[in-house]
């Protein structure tokens, strides 16, 4: 099966239509189980108390922030190199999802920081990198919006995504470097205690729930983009005929 097997939009739509309800259902079930485990079953940490529960949404959101950008970059590479007709739509569809998770990672990190560090925000290396990642998402989405010609916008955004992907590790490294020079004087690290298995399970379930959520929304948004592209093509054909 080649990479172009799903290049046929009709085939993709059929397959997506079959997967999407299942992914949606899976999201709901996993989210309910995950929330129950995170809020009720998981024990409070002996050091951080109940605040450790924020980790069960914060850490999976941060994982998703990275995962979505990786997905976006890979899809962009596929769009540029193999000119796969669905890849740029996949990249475009994943951006708002990734941006939302990045935003959530920042907000929950900040809420977690208040009881842990005594302040809503510290220029901790990880929070800072996530903040920059958020700007990369915003730039990517803004570029898509700014260029009117959809084909050109897709290619330009793909170039930007790849440039960003090359830069993400460099930015991460530079921020770590910067942070070791300006080590904030106080505070407990967020790494906290080594993870116990009673905490690992809710963490994994929540991570899986977020993944299923991503798949559901990715498919819905791709189908929407595909529909819009078809509508545009039909209107254009009408005008020229």
């Amino acid at each position: 099966m080649s990479i172009h097997y799903f290049a046929n939009p009709a085939r993709f739509t059929r397959l997506a239509g079959r997967i999407q309800p299942w992914a949606g259902g899976l999201t709901a079930v996993l989210l309910l189980i995950g929330l129950y485990m995170a809020l009720v079953e998981a024990p409070a940490d002996y050091q951080q108390g109940d605040t450790v529960r924020i980790m069960f949404v914060h850490v999976p959101a941060a994982w998703m922030a990275m995962f979505c950008y990786t997905f976006l970059a890979v899809a962009s590479a596929v769009a540029l190199i193999w000119r796969h007709p669905l890849a740029d739509l996949a990249a475009k569809a994943s951006a708002p999802i990734g941006a939302s998770f990045t935003f959530l990672a920042l907000v929950t990190g900040s809420i977690w920081g208040k009881p842990m560090w005594g302040t809503w925000w510290v220029w901790d290396a990880r929070l800072t990198s996530v903040l920059i990642l958020f700007f990369l998402y915003l730039g990517y989405m803004a570029l898509w919006e700014a260029i009117e010609d959809g084909q050109k916008a897709g290619k330009a955004a793909a170039v930007l995504a790849l440039v960003g992907a090359v830069n993400v590790p460099i930015i991460k490294f530079s921020v770590d470097w910067w942070n070791t020079l300006h080590q904030p004087a106080s505070v407990l690290r967020m790494d906290g205690p080594a993870i116990h298995s009673s905490m690992l399970w809710p963490l994994l379930i929540m991570a899986l729930a977020f993944k299923a959520y991503f798949v559901t929304l990715l498919l819905a948004r791709m189908r929407m983009e595909l529909n819009l592209r078809r509508i545009r093509a039909m209107r254009l054909a009408e005008r020229t005929s």
């Binding site: 109940d50 605040t51 924020i54 959520y213 929304l217 819905a220 078809r230 509508i231």
Partner: protein, 61 residues
């Protein structure tokens, strides 16, 4: 009842934990609803455009 109160108070950190979970659920629900709604709208727009064409007797796509 005391159990429930204890659960809701989250060891005194209720003011942090509930907002954190709340905003996650709100943002996720908002994006979900927005995505699904715009997808359905696009399906309807496409369907009506096709219907329109069929009525005029055009060959589809």
């Amino acid at each position: 009842m005391g159990n429930m109160e204890q659960f809701l108070s989250m060891g005194g950190y209720a003011g942090f934990i509930w907002p954190a979970f709340g905003i996650v659920l709100i943002v996720m629900a908002f994006l979900w609803i927005a995505s699904m709604r715009s997808w359905r709208k696009s399906e309807q727009a496409l369907a009506s455009l096709r219907q329109h064409r069929r009525q005029r007797g055009d060959i589809e796509e």
